[in-house]
Symmetry: C2
Subunit: 220 residues, 2 copies
């Protein structure tokens, strides 16, 4: 009985996610589903990315949080369209929440929509939003063993941003060990190593993202 | 319909949690539900605590992970009884999982049972396990704004261990700001500031825990 209901929830989400996906494609918008543990640096990465993209890409942001609007307030300072979703307890965003948020964003005016998911390395990986790209962040402070413990997130994401590389050497984080695990689990995964604090590595990430946005525009 | 099933799940969990709780009380065991984000330092805190408790307290550990047994392997090295629970995707432990794990642990031989929950600042706060004490860890690397964004975890936990204080000053973590938020949200919360890497602050935590175990023993 529980299982049937659960499948129902997943099916409904998939259907709405596909509708969102069609809408993004029709409007030529690359939607990025940005996922990570609490405090890994999702909002910092969005802030830094907005600075680096500048006028090259017209960007909007959806902020997902269980409660509060502290992240949306930070992002508003960059003068881009921002919508805050409060999930009211739910541990992840879902496609229906995104559809509702889209009523408050004019996709016609955007090339890129960054969706900051709830800070959680588990549940967000199970719910597609209609995104064109799934990006996850792992902070150096979290440790290099995380793919073994949260395998779905690391196998479902297409891009891994390793953040806080300014902390390398202060703990026992081993980037080579992480890369070797990722090669086994998800060999196609693109990895960027950055520090949102010092700025290191962020230009490569931003330039790559711009190319992805441009590729999307060229497609019919 | 969904809501009814969900209430059913919560009710069933509460019932089993109360049974676990009775069992712990009967056996004079303090059960600690240890919760935190991925990489905040749950396994490190358990390791350090085992070192500091030494022979003073007979301790057992239940390790909860979605997948893998890397944490249980680490803890086994301390020569204490360890049971690994793999949730197979589930984002939190529940009372039934604990009941099942208890078939493999002789509570008669223990004073303290530390239960490491799945790395997640959201879902574990919703499911009681029958624990006598809810302890959460927040790593300095995660930022001081987390209580606003994950309010249930910070209001349901009775103890907050702030870990990685050796990283203070490297980011913008403000301990005073954190304390002020906690005072508003959960004024009874006991806060310890520690570094599992340097050992700073851990003796206070371990001594306090020993006192809690002894208080439990004195009760009828």
């Amino acid at each position: 009985m529980d299982v049937e209901v659960l499948e129902g929830v997943f099916d409904a989400n998939e259907r709405i996610a596909r509708e969102n996906e069609s809408l993004f494609r029709e409007k030529g918008v690359l939607a990025v589903n940005l996922m990570a543990s609490p405090g890994a640096g999702k909002t910092s990465l969005i802030s830094r990315t907005l600075e680096l993209l500048g006028d090259r890409v017209r960007t909007g942001v959806i902020e997902g949080d269980i409660a509060s609007s502290v992240d949306a307030e930070k992002i508003k300072a960059y003068g881009v369209p921002v919508v805050q979703i409060n999930t009211g307890g739910a541990c992840h965003l879902d496609a229906a929440m995104i559809r509702q948020a889209l009523e408050h964003i004019d996709l016609q005016l955007l090339d890129l929509l960054i969706i900051e998911n709830v800070g959680n390395l588990v549940c967000p990986a199970e719910f597609r939003l209609g995104e064109g790209l799934r990006v996850m962040i792992l902070s150096v402070a979290e440790g290099h063993d995380k793919p073994l413990k949260y395998p779905l997130m690391f196998s479902e994401s297409q891009v891994l941003v390793v953040n806080k590389i300014d902390l390398l050497g202060l703990g026992d984080f081993d980037p080579a060990e992480l890369r070797s695990t990722i090669r086994r689990m998800n060999p196609e995964m693109r990895i960027f190593e950055v520090s949102c604090r010092t700025g290191e590595g962020l230009k490569d990430w931003a330039d790559w993202l711009v190319r992805r946005v441009e590729e999307g525009r060229r497609k019919p």
